[in-house]
């Protein structure tokens, strides 16, 4: 176990688990200490892409064998998921265009898969990677703000796009300047609107990141407890406590994982729906 390297130094163990495998794009070297914008979190990117590709692979496989006859197991599963999101979107955003359902489906499944990496034992893959000579590895992409912001900023761009498409540039501008306090308080309206629009992607990204990061951190701490149990005096008691704590947290986390994926996808649909829906029609 990675903790075995420095069982006495819990701080560095935790820190080690929270450090990405970084690729400095300026020097093209792997450097965990790299800073600045032109750095790639290789582990996040690779796991994110692999999981996303897995999603696409399953989806395309289902698409190839989709028939109007009796659906087989995999196709059935995909169809249930798809139908679930079609119904969600129909409920929240009735005038949705064809982009919304695939968007929600992609977000939900992808985020779910990324979150599910959290139940893989925290030391398993980093340990294997360590044997292969890779010293840092974070396997849960959704505990990386870059990944969650990557999703939420894309959603943010789509919100702006939907505003422009559904209301027209003039209509959008008019709405930004005249709501909620009327045209005489245009600057206040503008500031409020900017805050509102920025709050959305930030809250989307930080909610997911915060939940998953906290979850991972707790798993790391529980693992630390177990690692120290060997050297402690009441080792068995500590190990038992760690085992119970790990089990309890894993159960709880199994609720958090799909919930966060669902919340991210549903909020995306809701935001797009409000973007398409003119505020002036409310009154």
């Amino acid at each position: 176990m990675a903790a075995a390297e420095a069982p006495e130094d819990s701080g560095s163990y935790v820190l080690h688990h929270l450090t990405n495998l970084k690729l400095d794009l300026r020097t093209m070297t792997v450097d965990p200490q790299a800073h600045g914008f032109w750095v790639l979190n290789l582990d996040s990117v690779i796991f994110s892409l692999v999981l996303g590709s897995l999603f696409l692979f399953v989806l395309l496989k289902a698409a190839r064998s989709a028939t109007s006859g009796k659906p087989s197991g995999l196709v059935n599963f995909v169809e249930i998921t798809l139908e679930f999101w079609e119904n969600q979107v129909k409920e929240v955003f009735p005038q949705a265009n064809p982009l919304v359902v695939p968007l929600a489906l992609t977000i939900f499944v992808w985020v779910l898969l990324m979150n599910l990496m959290d139940v893989v034992p925290v030391d398993l893959l980093p340990f294997l990677a360590g044997q292969a000579g890779v010293d840092h590895l974070r396997i849960v992409p959704s505990t990386d703000v870059n990944i969650t912001f990557g999703l939420s900023l894309s959603v943010f761009l789509l919100i702006i796009g939907y505003n422009l498409v559904f209301k027209g540039p003039i209509g959008f501008l008019k709405e930004v300047l005249s709501h909620p306090f009327g045209p005489w308080l245009a600057p206040v309206n503008l500031v409020l609107r900017i805050v509102e629009e920025i709050a959305r992607p930030v809250s989307l990204a930080l909610r997911l990141f915060g939940n998953l990061f906290a979850g991972e951190l707790i798993f790391v701490l529980i693992a630390l407890l177990l690692a120290q149990a060997r050297t402690g005096i009441g080792g068995i008691g500590l190990a038992g406590l760690g085992f119970v704590a790990h089990l309890a947290w894993a159960f709880f986390h199994l609720l958090v994982i799909p919930l966060q994926a669902f919340v991210f996808a549903v909020l995306t649909v809701v935001y797009l729906s409000t973007a398409a829906h003119s505020h002036s029609e409310d009154h």
Binding site: V39, F55, P71, L82, P102, L105, T106, D144, L151, L153
Partner: protein, 156 residues
């Protein structure tokens, strides 16, 4: 925790994934689902039509059966009537035959009575002649007294 180029790559990957999902993966699945919906709807409609046709057919067969029953009753009625007619006719024929036979019997009897009367009359006249001739002891010329004899016979 710093923001870096991972963000850009993630956005690009996201766009690609959504695009592939929208353009390549979902259309065949959605189409299959819609086709299936249509097929199920068609199947249900066909079943509905079949059951309706069945109902129609059973109504029609009921009607045909009823008509056949009515017709059968008519035929039986007509046959009964005809039978009574035939019996009646036969009775009438027999009645008239009887009357005729009785009448002819009567006529025969009458004729025989008349014949017998004639014969009797003739015998009476002969007896009368014979009696008279015995009484008179002399032969009466039957020829000359034919007028008298005939008159006598007519009187008997």
């Amino acid at each position: 925790m710093d923001i870096n180029a991972t963000l850009i790559l993630q956005m690009i990957a996201f766009a690609v994934f959504v695009w592939v999902t929208m353009k390549l993966a979902l259309p065949p699945i959605s189409k299959a689902m819609k086709d299936r919906e249509v097929r199920i709807a068609d199947g249900l409609a066909a079943a509905e039509k079949g059951s309706k046709a069945l109902q129609d057919a059973s109504t029609k067969s009921d009607e045909a059966l009823k008509a056949a029953r009515v017709q059968a009753q008519e035929i039986v009625g007509a046959a009964n009537k005809q039978a009574t007619q035939i019996v009646e006719q036969a009775r009438q024929d027999a009645e008239s035959e009887k009357t005729r036979i009785v009448a002819s019997g009567h006529a025969e009897v009458q004729r025989e009575i008349a014949q017998a009367k004639d014969a009797l009359r003739r015998q009476v006249s002969e007896l009368a002649v014979a009696g008279a001739s015995k009484i008179l002891h002399r032969e009466i010329d039957a020829k000359t007294h034919a007028d008298v004899l005939n008159e006598l016979a007519a009187q008997v």
